[in-house]
Amino acid sequence: MTAVSRDEQRSNTSVSSPPSDVPGPMDWVAALTGGGPEQASALRELHALMLRAAAHQVWRMRPALPDPSPSAVDVIVNQAADEAMTALLAKLHTFEGRSRFTTWAFKFAILQAATEVRRLQWQHREVELRDLDVPSAPRHEDPELYAEGNDLAAAVAAAMRGVLTPYQRRIAIALLVDGIPIDVLADRLGTNRGALYKTLHDLRVRLRTELTTNGYLPVHPANPPNPAPSDASSRISPTPTAGTP
């Protein structure tokens, strides 16, 4: 029985908590580090898993590719699978068996493939870090049009000027208004996704605090006002918004 088939067999028993009395997820680790023919076989099986997940991801994002032809997709898939496999093997010692090994492996390929597609999507586009350029005072020419939503937008713009640093404003505009993918922006700025997300989190906390103080947000809101239209097919998060203007 191969490492893959052992892992698949577990999946028929339980998705989230593999039983401990059957060959466990660590079999993959043993096979991949043990040497000999079993290691070579496990490496081939792992690469097949990486290809499967990378293909799944690239085909999901295919419309975003500058060249969405099947041959171009194949090149991206193979490159992403190779790089994901290298990344996984470097982190193999961190696998703790909290999920099936195959699921754990898939996420490396999905991350690598998604990052590569976004990079290709933006490779010929200039990324501009610009400051807020909306008017500081609301326009009242047409009071009928100046409804609650516009008032809130003006309040948000005022809060951005008042409580955010210029750097925070530029990151907010780039990610949340201009829709630059977070890993593309991180790459252009020589930083990483985590650091930019921390900036985003901090500036959101500042904005929410300011808007709450000024009476635009309830004290303990469960959700922000004017929620963005949610993707009805998304089961992962109700209203993903970052980077999707």
């Binding site: 208004v177 959101r204 904005l207 004017n226 970052a242 203007p245």
Partner: protein
């Protein structure tokens, strides 16, 4: 080389406002999200009502992590 598209500078759109005011607490980093997304996706496949507030908050606030988590879920679902 094209440049970043400029939005209408007259106002932030409702979607912009929603994104800017998204509540991303409790805090979870992108690295922590990556560490947990495999077990999170498996838990969701097993029980669609499963909730992890920190993961949900992070995925609402990070479009890249959300896309990858959704993709993993669909791969596990066979869709």
């Amino acid at each position: 080389m094209s440049t970043t598209p400029r939005p209408d500078s007259a106002a932030l759109t409702p979607r912009n406002v929603s994104a800017l005011l998204q509540d991303t607490t409790p805090w979870l980093s992108c690295d922590e999200c990556f560490d947990r997304v495999d077990s999170y996706a498996e838990a969701l496949v097993h029980d669609p009502t499963y909730r992890d507030e920190a993961m949900a908050a992070h995925l609402r606030g990070c479009a890249a992590c959300d896309e990858e988590a959704e993709s993993l879920l669909r791969l596990l679902d066979g869709r």
